[in-house]
C-alpha cells in the first residue's frame, strides 16, 4: 500500500490512480457496483477504505450506489463512485438530483464501447452524455479528461475541491485503455480533512437550535424553480469563464491542429510527431476540461489560419464542440474516428494529417 511521501513513486493502473487520488484528497465514502473495465477500482477501495477509516459499500445497483453517495454527500462527506458506460447510464437519474441539490461528489466513468451492452473494449462515445448533463433538466457536470495515469491521480485529487467550490458534481471521463494501463505515479500527500465536515449546507442534525437545513431539488411554488434555474445558469456561465483548461503541444505554429482527449490524445500526439518529421506543421490541443470546453485555443489557432482534425473513439461527438467553438471564425474541421471498440492507430491518424496537408 502506498505511503505518503514526497519521494514516493508507485506503479498503478489508471483506475487505481483515480481511487488513490480521491482517497488522498479526503474521500472516505465509496459506493459502487461491478462492471468491466473498472473493477480494479472498487476492489482497491474495498481494502483501502477500511484502512483509512472510510466506508465501502458494494451496492445492489448503480441506482443504489448513487443514492448512498447522495446521502453521504448531503451529510458533508467526500463521496465517490465509479462505473463504465452502461452503468453510468443508470447513474443519470441521481446525477440530475445531485446537480439540482448542488451536492459535490466524484463520479468516474471508465468508458467502454456502446451502444447498449456494447463491448468492454475502449470507447469515447459517452461524451455527449457527460458534457450535456446526461439526465433530465438543465444542468452540467464539471467533466475532467485525464490522458495519463498520473493525470488521472492529479485530477481525482483536485476533484473534490472543485466540486465543493462550485457545488457541482465532478465527472472524470476516463476510458478502458487509460483505466487499465499501468504507469508510474508520484502521489500527493494524504489530506488531513475529517471524514465529514459541517459544511454550511450539510445535514448534521439541527443542533443547538440552529435553523433546519434541507437538501432538495424540488421547487413547487410558482416561479421558484425558474429563479433557481436562473441562479444555476449564472453559476454555469461563471464556470465557463473560469474553468476551461487544456494543454497545447506544438500548436503555436501549426497549420493542422489535432483536437483529442484521453487515450485518443496520446495517439494524436504521436501522429503529430510523425507529421513534424514529415515536414508538416501539425500540433495538438488537448482539452482537459470537456465541460466547460476550452474554445480559446481553438479560436486562436483558427485566427492564425489553422484547420482542425478531431480524433475521437466515437463517430463524432466532441467534434460538435469544436465546431461550436469556431462559430465566429469558421475553418475546416475534419474527423478521424474509430468506434465500437476500435482504437485509432498512429499511422492512420498520421495518414489523414498527411492528406489534409496535401503531401
Amino acid at each position: 500500500m502506498a505511503q505518503a511521501s514526497t519521494e514516493e513513486k508507485i506503479l498503478i493502473t489508471g483506475n487505481v490512480a483515480a481511487a488513490e487520488g480521491a482517497v488522498r484528497a479526503g474521500c472516505r465514502f465509496y459506493f459502487g457496483y461491478p462492471i468491466t473495465p473498472q473493477n480494479d477500482l472498487p476492489e482497491y477501495m474495498s481494502a483501502r477504505m477500511p484502512a483509512v477509516g472510510g466506508t465501502f459499500v458494494q451496492a445492489e445497483s448503480e441506482l443504489a450506489a448513487m443514492a448512498l453517495l447522495h446521502g453521504a454527500a448531503a451529510a458533508g462527506g467526500r463521496a465517490m463512485t465509479s462505473s463504465s458506460s452502461p452503468g453510468v447510464s443508470l447513474k443519470q437519474e441521481a446525477l440530475s438530483y445531485l446537480a439540482g441539490s448542488e451536492l459535490p461528489a466524484l463520479i468516474v466513468n471508465v468508458q467502454r464501447a456502446g451502444p447498449g451492452l456494447g463491448d468492454v473494449r475502449c470507447g469515447q462515445a459517452d461524451y455527449f452524455q457527460a458534457t450535456r448533463g446526461g439526465g433530465h433538466g438543465d444542468y452540467r457536470l464539471l467533466v475532467l479528461a485525464p490522458h495519463t495515469v498520473q493525470e488521472t491521480f492529479d485530477l481525482a485529487y483536485e476533484a473534490f475541491d472543485l466540486a465543493e467550490k462550485w457545488r457541482c458534481p465532478v465527472m472524470i471521463l476516463s476510458d478502458q485503455q487509460l483505466g487499465q494501463m499501468m504507469e508510474p505515479v508520484v502521489p500527493a500527500p494524504m489530506s488531513t480533512l475529517p471524514a465529514v465536515r459541517d459544511l454550511p449546507w450539510a445535514l448534521s442534525g439541527a443542533e443547538g437550535g440552529r435553523p433546519k437545513r434541507i437538501v432538495k431539488s424540488f421547487y413547487w411554488r410558482p416561479g421558484e424553480l425558474e429563479e433557481f434555474n436562473k441562479r444555476l445558469r449564472e453559476k454555469y456561465i461563471k464556470m465557463e469563464r473560469e474553468l476551461p483548461r487544456w494543454e497545447e503541444d506544438r500548436a503555436a505554429d501549426a497549420e493542422i491542429v489535432l483536437v483529442a482527449y484521453g487515450t485518443s490524445a496520446r495517439i494524436a500526439r504521436d501522429a503529430v510527431g510523425l507529421a513534424r518529421e514529415a515536414g508538416i506543421r501539425a500540433g495538438l490541443v488537448r482539452p482537459i476540461t470537456l465541460w466547460p470546453f476550452p474554445a480559446a485555443p481553438l479560436v486562436a489557432a483558427a485566427k492564425r489560419g489553422a484547420r482542425f482534425l478531431v480524433v475521437e473513439m466515437s463517430w463524432g461527438q466532441m467534434i460538435d464542440d469544436v465546431k461550436l467553438s469556431l462559430y465566429g471564425t469558421p475553418r475546416p474541421v475534419d474527423l478521424c474516428w474509430r468506434a465500437g471498440g476500435g482504437v485509432p492507430d498512429v499511422a492512420e491518424v498520421f495518414e489523414q494529417v498527411r492528406r489534409l496537408a496535401g503531401k
Binding site: F29, F31, T55, V57, A59, E60, S61, L63, A64, M66, A67, L68, L69, H70, G71, A72, A73, A74, A75, G76, G77, A79, E93, A94, Y97, S101, A195, V196, L203, S204, G205, A206, E207, G208, G209, R210, K212, R213, I214, V215, K216, S217, F218, W220
Partner: protein, 251 residues
C-alpha cells in the same frame, strides 16, 4: 380555535411547524408527522435527527417538520438514508416512504438496506394507492379495489396480489423489528406512536434495522368519506395486511 372555558391540554410539538399542509381531509400523513415530532420533542432529539422525505404525497414533509431533512429520487429513499447514516452514525436517521416509493420503484432498495441491516428507521405509510399522482394502483392495492389505472378493480390475474412488505422483510436475517399498525381508533394511534418509538430505540441502542408499516387512510382516492375510511381499513386492508408485530428479535 379557542373555545370558551376550555383549557389547552396538548399543544403543537415544537418540531412540527405551524404550517398549513397540502394533505387532503382525513389523510393519515399529518397524524404520523405529528407522532414523529412528538417523539423528537419528548426525547429532545431535534439536534440529533435527520429525516428522509420520499417522492409521493409526503414529498413536502420538510415543510412541516422543523428538522434537517433530505430529498431522494423516487424509491431510493432508504439508500440515501443509509448514506447519511454511514456518514453520521451518531444521528437518528429515518426514511419516510409511501407504498409506491417503497414497494414498487424502491423494492430493490428496501430489501438490500434491510438485508445489510443498515441501522435506520423506516416509516412505511401503506394506503394501498398512489395519492400524489392521482389515485393509480399501488403494489399494495387490494384485489378488486378500483383505482384510476384499475377501473374495473385490481385483477389478480393480470396485476398480481398485494405485496406484504413486513412479511417479505421478515425472511431476512438482519431486520430486528417489523411491526404493522393502523391509523384508526385513538388506541391504534398510540400503538403506532409506541411502534415508532421502539423503532427509534432499536436504531439508537441496537444499531439495527427496523420498519413500522402503518395502514393509513386515503379517503380522496378510496372515494369514501374520511369518517368511513377507518372502517374501510378494517374491512379491506386488515384482512390482507394483518396488524401486529411481524418480527421482533430485540428481546
Amino acid at each position: 380555535m379557542e373555545v370558551a372555558g376550555a383549557k389547552l391540554k396538548i399543544g403543537r410539538p415544537r418540531s412540527l411547524l405551524a404550517a398549513r399542509t397540502h394533505y387532503c381531509a382525513g389523510c393519515g400523513h399529518g397524524v404520523v408527522h405529528r407522532i414523529i415530532a412528538e417523539i423528537i420533542d419528548e426525547w429532545g432529539l431535534r439536534g440529533q435527527t435527520i429525516g428522509m422525505a420520499p417522492v409521493g404525497c409526503a414529498v413536502l414533509m420538510y415543510q412541516y417538520l422543523d428538522i434537517d431533512m433530505c430529498e431522494s429520487p423516487h424509491g431510493r429513499t432508504p439508500e440515501v438514508a443509509a448514506g447519511i447514516k454511514r456518514a453520521r452514525p451518531d444521528k437518528l436517521v429515518f426514511s419516510y416512504q409511501g407504498d409506491g416509493d417503497l414497494a414498487a420503484i424502491g423494492m430493490g432498495e428496501i430489501i438490500h438496506v434491510a438485508n445489510r441491516g443498515e441501522p435506520i428507521s423506516v416509516i412505511f405509510i401503506n394506503n394501498a394507492i398512489y395519492g400524489m399522482t392521482g389515485g393509480q394502483m399501488a403494489p399494495t392495492t387490494v384485489p378488486g379495489q378500483k383505482t384510476t389505472t384499475t377501473p374495473q378493480g385490481r385483477s389478480v390475474t393480470g396485476e398480481g396480489f398485494p405485496i406484504r412488505v413486513c412479511e417479505l422483510l421478515a425472511t431476512l436475517e438482519k431486520p430486528v423489528y417489523l411491526e404493522r399498525t393502523v391509523l384508526g381508533a385513538p388506541k391504534e394511534i398510540t400503538r403506532t406512536k409506541n411502534a415508532i418509538k421502539k423503532s427509534f430505540r432499536v436504531q439508537r441502542e441496537l444499531k439495527a434495522f427496523s420498519l413500522v408499516e402503518i395502514l393509513s387512510p386515503c379517503p380522496t382516492y378510496w372515494r369514501v368519506s374520511p369518517d368511513k375510511s377507518v372502517k374501510y381499513i378494517e374491512t379491506w386492508m386488515e384482512k390482507i395486511f394483518p396488524p401486529g408485530v411481524i418480527k421482533d428479535t430485540t428481546k
